[in-house]
Amino acid sequence: MKRTHRINIFFFIFASVLAVLYAFPFAMVLLNSVKDKREVRNEPLAWPTEWKWDNFTEAIDRMDYWQALGNSLIITVLSVTAIIITSSMLAYYLARSKTKFSAATFLILVASMIVPFQALMIPFVGLFGERGLGLPGNQFTIAFFYVGFGVALSTFLYHGFISNIPYELDEAAGMDGASAFRTYRSIIFPMLGPVTATVAIINALWIWNDFLLPSVVLLENDQKTLPLRTFVFYGNYTSDYGLAMAGLLISILPIVIFYFAMQKRIIAGISAGAVK
């Protein structure tokens, strides 16, 4: 027993070294975000001689941080809410309907998950951009698109769960005079809590970090999300690495805070969502 314990400690130390390596890039961002640009260039590993907190106020100012953060928040919350509502309803319909149509629909949804956005992007821009329907590039348009792209996976996750809810519950509710919608809203949806958490987390991480779709939809500066703003900001200030690092740090911060607040749920959501 003692021998295995010693081996475990050896492995633990080895893993800790790896963890330090994994965290090293973040440490570099953190350390250099409070430095002057000359110090970043000459001594990236050294402790800052002079703490340049101005980097943060300047980065916040120049990338319109609060606006970009607000845009990202609104788009993520709006899209995730819409995905939860639409996909749980669709999954309820598909799980309870035994027609050939619903079986075929389910199959198409599953198959669609392998289609990369890149294969749709060009006709997509032609269809909805200024050359086509000319939809305005705002948060409602993009939430609409996220529902279209996200509904398949989320419906699939809900479907598996709803299929295990006994049909007798629906019948009992019907006997009491509840309409189909009422049954869904008051009986079924409240039971879906664990899947809803999974669906919310998987979609929130995807939408929050997404770059390609917003970059072809959100063309006005005041509509742009945090990743878009960060990318442009970094490109403009590569000569001042201290400032650039401050910009990276503040754009990483919200999701890291979110992670530490909901760590258990996020890990559980990812393990549940990956079992396909």
């Binding site: 963890a19 890149q118 992007m121 006709p123 997509f124 032609g126 690495y241």
Partner: protein, 290 residues
């Protein structure tokens, strides 16, 4: 049994809106996209049918082939390294010691952050910080900026990909390792197996499904990688590190070649679909029937 009228009512209440959005956003662009590859579509309108010309042009296009080969190499390297590292990490963070949870967080953290920002962080590291550190310490590995040469830029992309994805796949492997029945392990202990034998003959076969999932996700993510490519190398030097996504994006939106860009995108989809189906079919054969 429900009547036909009830069935239609349920469809209208629950399924119409989600399916209409799904159709408009995904199905219509997909089918239109395939149609466009047989035309001379320029983003505005179609003047004539060109048959297979776009496909023939794509097969004769050196940039397209260069990008496809580069992508293939990137996918294979990522597929192997991400999963080897992720599985190793999963074994490490399941040893029965307190403190491993902190390590899990460190390994998982890069995955939370979008590829664009991760690419920017490493652009700073490869281009600025690591060469300076190499100079100061005398360790020559990163003395040159890795992003300036095609071969080292390729490995730079693989390193960042492993850093980004291994934490996610680690979670999948950890879940699988923890769900192995204790009885199976105890039985093998009585039979006098050592740790390595238990790993190879008991644990690996029992968690084959986790490998199927994780390999599938890595394959798909690597084939579709765009963000990291854009922000880390931007395709440089001289467009030699353009993954297929970035190549398609630039063909359409930078050069305005809509129908040829879309043709390359459709070919990309076909390759992904074949690779993914083949991988799942092969992996499934290793899964234990229970």
């Amino acid at each position: 049994m429900r009547t036909r009228r009830q069935e239609i009512r349920r469809f209208l209440v629950f399924a119409l809106v989600p399916l209409a959005i799904f159709t408009l956003v995904l199905v219509v662009p997909f089918t239109r996209g395939i149609y466009f590859t047989f035309t001379d579509w320029n983003g505005f309108d179609v003047t004539q049918f060109v048959g297979l010309d776009n496909y023939i042009a794509a097969f004769q296009n050196e940039d397209f082939w260069g990008s496809m080969l580069f992508t293939a190499g990137y996918v294979v390297a990522s597929l192997i390294l991400v999963n080897v590292v992720a599985f190793g990490l999963a074994l490490l963070v399941t040893i029965p010691l307190r403190g491993v949870n902190v390590l899990r967080t460190a390994f998982f953290l890069p995955n939370l952050i979008g590829g664009v920002i991760l690419g920017l962080i490493w652009q700073f590291l490869f281009g600025q910080a690591l060469p300076t550190i190499a100079e100061a310490t005398g360790i020559p590995v990163f003395a040159e900026n890795w992003l300036l040469d095609t071969t080292t830029a390729f490995w730079a992309m693989v390193i960042v990909t492993v850093w980004q994805m291994s934490g996610y796949m680690m979670i999948i492997y950890v879940t699988a390792l923890m769900s192995i029945e204790q009885e199976a392990l105890e039985a093998s202990l009585i039979d006098g197996t050592n740790g390595l034998q238990r790993l190879v003959f008991i644990k690996l076969p029992l968690m084959a499904q986790a490998f199927t999932i994780s390999l599938f996700l890595t394959l798909r993510n690597a084939f579709m990688a765009f963000d990291l490519n854009l922000s880390l190398t931007g395709g440089n030097p001289y467009g030699t590190t353009e993954l297929i996504s970035l190549q398609v994006f630039r063909e359409a939106f930078s050069f305005g070649n809509f129908s040829s860009g879309q043709t390359q995108a459709v070919l990309m989809f076909v390759v992904i679909a074949i690779a993914a189906l083949a991988q799942v079919a092969i992996s499934k054969r290793f899964e234990v029937q229970r």
